[in-house]
Symmetry: C2
Subunit: 325 residues, 2 copies
């Protein structure tokens, strides 16, 4: 497979299985819970990564990336850029092995996410949203730190793919798995795991309509980028990436069956339904895949479906305001 | 052991293990999650029975009681009286085996709990709070149904005790387990399991101050009953029982180390902390044991502690109102 003339190697099931062995002591096996909703004839299975340590699936990829460092790189520490969950996850994963972590965060990040990252011992550097990536690169060079990108990296993709392995083990007779998309690391990894083991399972990406860059690009067969001003409008702050990565795009075009979008109202309605029926607190981004099942599951014949609730990091007051009827 | 001159047989570890085998296909093994809170030096482990099917631990006892019915009793159906979670659980357990269930509920029960019980196919009969128990007895006699009491029954106690077996398997080095108390079925069962297997673990009951009948009686060494007018004041609607049962009292006096009470403010604060840190939705009753750890854990030297979050059945709007800062 080629992209821009260069050979691209996709993450394999062996990579994901190796990652599973490496992340097992740091990450928990999250439960699969039932979401019953009057809009659906049968319950949806929710893979509750909101109950993962650090509050999101991002810990899997970050732990795997840290496990790949040699002793010297571990001593020099890591750096990343993140609006929230990846930075928090990397801070936790680095601390587990005694490495220092620096997280460059945008000045638009929710205070709860900044505070939680600092509480895990990381140095947080605040920059304007457009500058976080380049600033992380500068710190990597100046301080000799390893840059751990949030999604466009084979270790990250393989780590996130461990969610797919668990789902296969936890639910029988799956017909469709729905995965939220920001930069595409979770979708790429889960697709790599599922399509290797059970190619007949339909793998569907889910995005907010207001950050629908992948849905547009997937339909057109072209890697699409939206402006940040456009994607910032969605309540799903974890999915505001302006585009999926190059490596994640290659996985998605090769392995994913469909990409759907959901309205802002559907996201909030799913948060409410997850609180009422499933008894879990999810952030808006974490409700996007369940929302896609509620909005599209019957019309598109999803059948027995697992939706990944990717994270739960939301200010309690903001959560309470959103889910009030 | 004697009570009122009669021989009392306590539930044994064999009874609890037999119950575990019988409830396994209906009840899920709920996860143990971390509650981090700045008031505590180390996280508390939360046994999240709020994520149990039907939203509470009550499904364990109800399933065990239904499993004990012979074919004829199963055909005649079951009846109970309940303000909420036990009735819902019995409705679910009965439906799993094709038996009919009638639940007598007080006219003070939250609408969400009445609706959920009906949605599970049970007949709901509404009575004044003082009449639900006697009315269930009348229906049992008139209709030949087996009365499945909410707590004061060896099958129920053994079923609830399966929570204790799971906790032992899920967490190492436990020093204290804190269990919420209404009628005392969960506390009796968990104590029976823990004290048989690991007698050095401290087992602590937790009640709202406003429904502190057991704390008062436990301190005095006398089975104490409060008026319903008094216990109705607590926000923890699942723990408003005016007294623990006779059989549960015998277990508690024989096996439990301490009973503590928590303020209403501490209950709501724990609900908020469980949403923010643990990412779960619990009803007020479900937050009472975590609240007890937050309020008393350090002062009383609980050490490594597991607190049982017993249920998550709360109207989402009510939940949102309670947890707003």
């Amino acid at each position: 497979m080629t992209a821009g003339g260069a050979e691209v190697t996709l993450v394999t099931i062996d990579d994901v299985e190796a990652a599973a062995a490496l992340v097992r002591t740091t990450c928990v096996r999250t439960p699969v819970l039932e979401l019953a909703d009057r809009r659906l004839p049968t319950p949806v299975w929710i893979k509750a990564e909101s109950l993962q340590r650090t509050g999101s699936f991002k810990l899997r990829g970050a732990t795997h990336a840290v496990a790949a460092l040699d002793a010297e790189a571990r001593r020099a520490g890591v750096v990343t850029y993140s609006a929230g969950n990846h930075g928090r996850a990397l801070a936790y994963a680095a601390r587990r092995v005694g490495a220092s972590a620096t997280v460059v965060m945008p000045d638009t990040a929710p205070p709860a996410k900044v505070g939680a990252t600092r509480a895990l011992g990381a140095r947080v550097v605040i920059q304007r949203p457009d500058d976080i990536m380049s600033h992380a690169g500068i710190l990597a060079e100046e301080e000799g730190r390893t840059l751990v990108p949030p999604f466009d990296d084979p270790h990250i993709i393989a780590g996130q793919g461990t969610v797919g392995l668990e789902v296969l083990d936890q639910v029988g007779e799956i017909e469709t798995v729905v995965v939220p998309v920001g930069g595409g690391g979770l979708l790429a990894g889960v697709a790599a795991a599922l399509k290797a083991r059970r190619p007949e399972i339909r793998v569907v990406g889910a995005e907010p309509e207001l950050a629908g860059d992948l849905a547009e690009g997937f339909a057109a067969g072209e890697h699409s980028t939206w402006s940040r001003a456009r994607t910032t409008r969605t309540v799903a702050d974890g999915l505001r990436a302006a585009a999926v990565g190059q490596l994640t795009w290659e996985h998605i075009t090769a392995l994913v069956d469909d990409v759907v979008t959901v309205s802002e109202e559907a996201i909030v309605s799913a948060m409410r339904s997850l609180a009422a029926s499933t008894k879990i607190v999810v952030e808006a981004s974490g409700a996007v895949a369940p929302a896609a099942v509620l909005q599209h599951g019957q019309g598109r014949g999803f059948g027995l479906t697992v939706a990944i609730a990717s994270g739960g990091n939301v200010d309690v007051d903001a959560f309470a305001s959103l889910v009030r009827g």
